[in-house]
Amino acid sequence: MGKFIGKSIKRREDARFLTGKGKYTDDIKLPNMAHAAFVRSPYAHARILNVDTTAAKIAEGVVAVYTAADGPGDYGVPCGWQVNFKNGDTMREPQHPLLAKGKVRHVGEPVAIVIAESLALARDAAELVDVEYEELPAVTNPKAAMQAGAPLVHDDFPDNAAFDWCIGNDRAEVEAALDNAYHVTELEFINQRLAPNAIEPRSYIADYDVNGDKWTLYTSTQNPHLIRLLLCAFVLGIPEHKVRVVSYDVGGGFGSKIYHYIEEALLTWVSKQIARPVKWTADRSEAFLMDAHGRDHVVKSKMGFDKEGNIVAHLTDEYCSMGAYLSTFAPAVPTYLHGTLFQGLYKTPLIHVNVTAPFTHTCSVDAYRGAGRPEATYLIERLVSKGAKEMGMDPAEIRYKNFIPPFDGVNQPGYQTQVALQYDSGNYAPVLEKALEAIGYEDFRKEQEAARKEGKLLGLGISTWIEGCGIAPSAVVGALGARAGLYEVGHVRVQPTGKVSVYTGAHSHGQGHETVFAQFVADKLGIPMDDVEIVHGDTEQVAFGMGTYGSRSLAVGGSAIIKSIDKVLEKGAKIAAHKLEAAVEDLEYAEGKWTVKGTDKSIAFGDVSLTAYVPHDYPEGLEPGLDFSSFYDPSNFTFPFGAHLAIVEVCAETGKVTIKRFVTCDDVGNIMNPMIVDGQIHGGVVQGIGQALLEEVVYDESGQMITGSYMDYAMPRADNVPMIETHNTVTPCPHNPLGAKGAGEAGTIGSTPAVVNAVIDALWHLGVKDIQMPLTPQRVWKAMNQN
């Protein structure tokens, strides 16, 4: 460990955020900027009979009104991942037009865009666009969408399936093992649809420069380079070098800002039509309707155990909604980010996961914090806890019994799962031991017993989790259907004075990259943190990048930077050797200087960098400059893991659940900044609690969203949650130079089943075996009073 790595260094980005000086997209005002408002479908499914824009076009302040007939982006927004049918048929990929053509397929789908001199006038004029619809029947539940006779989302497909998919062992073999199992635990439930709800709504400004025939797109994205690639190469067919995508400060993403959205492309198209900058910022209502949702799986699952409680087989069938169109990474979520995690932390010898992914008349579903992995963890951990209850075993004991034995990925090989992945390193029992010790497991059981006698319903829930982060390598993900590589770019530019600018293709929208990346760069170079600047979020500054999602930034993006630092130090050593008149092999680098081993002869990093740029006295044949860019393509995913425990109290009268304690012990590999890792865990845990107890996007049978505002969609608030008690163990990743695994999604993955298991633990003696999420007071009360 160096001076900075492993320390809770305070964040440098805070200064601007705390004083109101952050620069979010909606904060940007360009000269002569016009404003956009959308005309959106009030129906889930309807034929568009006529769009009359006459009144809107002559309204006060209106610059232009466009509909699909004006031909924006003929190709529509593409999907970035292809998952074909089990029988080899190609994935069904409908065109996702920038403005609805002929039909609307979910509530909120834009039919027209109105551009005006001010936002208020654009809104006023949007109300004057008269759209005539013929409403059609809609289907919103993914299982119902696959029933015969269900309304079709896309007329040219004979049923609603986008694809189907399976992974694991032979189904017949798994079914036979279940038939022969000593005990089989079953669960049927819906992993409910969630709205990501970054507090900053999406915001875009497209600025077309007539003189240069160039665009600048300011966008609240997690992923500027990918947006540029999709926008240019697929949607609008414009040369990539003519588009600059800038994503300054972004107010949270949680997945929802990974994807290339139609509004982004449409604004870019519009700004050339009107030869002016144009801005659109979503309302919260629009965010609910349009920002890709998460989850929405209809699940049927079975887990078989032998007499001792060893898991013998696991079979799951799921219907996983895609929504009306395929969002950027949607097909990967219920498949390669989900089915591949069904091993969990357990030795389960036989696993089969079968997924059907239908279109429904709803907002697109894509990766939302955790993306497929919370869904996998939820069902595994519910099954294990339910199985333990049914077999009269302790839920901790059954987990210890089934854990995969420790392996470090160096001296022992990685663990080959039944569902394709090979875990990098793992040591699972200690996280659970540490968490149980922290919560005082034995004492709690006594307290629970005593409380029950007084009519108080206490419960403790256990969940363990594993995640695949930083998915890679590119060739493998390509073989699995990804239409992009999943490497990262790290560019280290040492300035002549020895100050260092680092350009990363990762993007920070709350994760603190500007601080954390500077910590390890400063340490690796032995220079002060103040001498390091981290630059991200601008395609004109950063060569390329794949953005931030899936807890990949440090493990992949950080490693790319390390590669460039290694190159800097290697070249620096040659310059230092020349200046010190020594052999490179005789030098050592520490604390910002090269020293001839065993002497006090040394040269500082800054002197070497100055020499590199003023190469008067310089090694022969060596290029001047100290500036390296690297692409890092990892050899494998990383696999962080952990254990989460919740203690809840259920109000016997009302069914209201109160979380009394929440304890985590996570292993995210090597930790650069514990303060930031804890912060990531806290936030993730509360998001997971949100799913367990509060949050749910509900569409009614006609496809109207009835929880489309904060008046009906319950977000976790400060008084819904307790302090989160965090602990950790460290099992380094064996295959990346930082030994880091990823922490961004950990909290969300582990917490949801822990809370639900806790509630069931509190109510099991009343005959309650399962409750559909979110565990609202009404649902809990009804479950308690079902008999």
């Binding site: 004083t19 005002k29 709800n197 507090i199 209502s285 912060g679 936030g683 509360v686 608030r717």
Partner: protein, 154 residues
């Protein structure tokens, strides 16, 4: 309509449309973009400012309603380059991640601590019920307010 008000100690006078919200006035007219908009229903609290010393949701007030009032926004909290103790506490306790809800949190914390200089954890959580944060899980925000209370009471 002509309005006159004081924002962060400076007097302003503008002719505004009645339908202009106070948030839009601050952001669009005064270029004080630290006050954010996160929802349509007075729920999230990202737009919180102090109006005559009390925390209010500026997205649910018309600029014309603030005529004659004194407003403090996040930009008016620090004393030059010296952070206000509440701002400093948020930095020390890592009470922010993406920073979007932060101005509203800081302004609400100012109201909480003004009315109750020694709040309990439960009182702080209750006091923050009108401010959503999707990043921090509130843990460090609560600790930030606790730390700010300690500093302010010294």
């Amino acid at each position: 309509m002509q309005i006159k008000l004081t924002v962060n100690g400076k007097e302003y006078s503008h002719d505004v449309e009645p339908r202009l919200s106070l948030t839009h006035y601050l952001r669009e007219v005064l270029d004080l973009t630290g006050t954010h908009i996160g929802c349509d229903t007075s729920s999230c609290g990202a737009c919180t400012v102090l109006l005559d010393g009390r925390a209010v949701k500026s997205c649910t007030l018309l600029a014309v309603q603030a005529d004659g009032c004194e407003i403090i926004t996040i930009e008016g909290m620090a004393n030059g380059s010296e952070l206000h103790p509440i701002q400093a506490a948020f930095k020390e306790e890592h009470g922010l991640q993406c920073g979007f809800c932060t101005p509203g949190m800081v302004m609400t914390a100012a109201d909480i601590l003004k009315n109750n200089p020694t709040p309990t954890e439960a009182e702080i959580r209750h006091g923050l019920e009108g401010n959503y944060c999707r990043c921090t899980g509130y843990h460090n925000i609560v600790k930030s307010v606790q730390r700010a209370a300690e500093t302010l009471n010294q």
